[in-house]
Amino acid sequence: MRAWIKATAVPAIMLLALATSRAEEQTEPPAPERSALDAEVQGLRREVVDLNRDLFMLEEDLLFPASTQIAVFVSMDVGTFFDLDSVQIRIDGKEVSNYLYTAREREALLRGGVQRIWLGNMKAGEHELVAFFTGQGTHERDYKRGATLAIEKGVGARYVELRISDRVRKLQPEFVVRVWE
C-alpha cells in the first residue's frame, strides 16, 4: 500500500507539473508572463522533489522508528588484498541480508563510497551480528571470512559499520565490525 502510494503519487505529481508546463507552452502567453510561469513551474518541480524527500523520510520514520532502528553500512579502504563478491549479514542467527556486488559497486566502494546494506528493527537488549565477507584474496584465491559483533541495543538508533581494509604488514585483508557511537 505504502509502495503503491509512493509509486503513483510522485510520478503523478511530476506528470502534473510537466503537463502544466506543456499546457502553458501551448497557450504561449506574452514574454514577461511566460517567465513568471516558468518560475512557477520551477517552483512546483522543487516542491515535488521536496515532497518526495519528505515522503521518503516519513516512510523511514514510520517503518524504522529511532527507538528500534539499526542500520548496517559497508565501506572499503584500498582493497588491494581483497576483491569483494558478497556480504551476508546474520542477526541472532537469522539471515537479514545477502548482497552481491557488481564491478561498478565495488568501484564505488573503493572510491570512498559507503553503502547502507541493511536497515531494520531490533528490540532493546543484547544481540549478535555476524557478517560473512566472500570474495577473492591475493593470487585470485577464494576467500571467506566472518566477523562477529555483540550489540547492546538501547533506546536510540544503532549504526554498525562493516569495514574492509588492507593489513599491509600481513599482506591480508582485514574485516572490522564496529558500532558508531
Binding site: W4, A7, T8, A9, P11, A12, I13, L15, L16, A19, D85, S86, Y99, L100, Y101, T102, A103, R104, E105
Partner: protein, 171 residues
C-alpha cells in the same frame, strides 16, 4: 462580489487539480506495476550483474534452461540481435534455471553467445518474473519498464519482436 468570484475560481481550480491527480494516479498505476523487479545474479563467468545498472539501455531478458528444446534457438537469435543492436543500446541478459552451472555453460558455448549467462539455480528471480514456461523473453525499456513478453517465437512473432525492439531503441 469579487471575493465571491475569487472563491468560486479557487474551488474550480482545486476541483481541476484533484481530478487531474486522480486521473494521473489511475494512469500511472499500471505503468508502475510493470516495472521490472531488480535482481543481482552471478554469471557463469563469475562476474555479478544487477539489472538496475542497465537503466538507460534497452534490455532483453531471456529465461532458459539446458533441458528446454526451444531455448537454444532463442539464445542464438538474441546473439544475432545483440551483434546488430548493441551499438544502439541493446543489452541482452540471459538467466539460466539450471541447477548445474556446467550445463548452462555447455549450452551457452555451443550456441556461441557472447552475452552474460546468469545463474538462478535457487529460482528466486524466475519465480518473481513468473517464468513458468521456458523460454521466457522480456523486453525492458530504458526506464526499466517491461514492455513485451514472449514465449518461443514463430516467424510472425519474430517480426513483431523486431518492430517492438526497434521502437524501444528509438524511444
Amino acid at each position: 462580489m469579487n471575493s465571491t468570484q475569487d472563491l468560486a475560481d479557487d474551488d474550480r481550480r482545486v476541483g481541476r487539480f484533484v481530478l487531474a491527480i486522480t486521473i494521473l494516479i489511475v494512469l500511472a498505476a499500471p505503468v508502475m506495476a510493470s516495472t521490472a523487479p531488480d535482481f543481482a545474479l552471478r554469471s557463469v563467468a563469475g562476474a555479478n550483474y544487477r539489472l538496475s545498472e542497465h537503466r538507460g539501455e534497452v534490455v532483453a531478458l531471456i529465461f532458459w534452461a539446458s533441458w528446454c528444446g526451444d531455448c537454444r534457438r532463442e539464445l542464438e537469435r538474441f546473439e544475432r540481435l545483440r551483434a546488430t543492436y548493441a551499438p544502439a543500446g541493446l543489452v541482452v541478459l540471459s538467466v539460466s534455471l539450471d541447477e548445474e552451472p556446467a550445463h548452462a555453460a555447455t549450452i551457452a558455448a555451443a550456441a556461441g553467445i557472447d552475452y552474460p549467462v546468469l545463474l538462478d539455480a535457487g529460482k528466486k528471480v524466475s519465480r518473481v518474473y513468473e517464468a513458468d514456461r521456458l523460454p521466457l523473453i522480456l523486453l525492458i525499456d530504458r526506464n526499466g519498464v517491461i514492455r513485451a513478453r514472449y514465449d518461443a517465437l514463430d516467424e510472425s512473432e519474430e517480426h513483431g519482436l523486431l518492430v517492438r525492439l526497434r521502437d524501444l531503441i528509438d524511444e
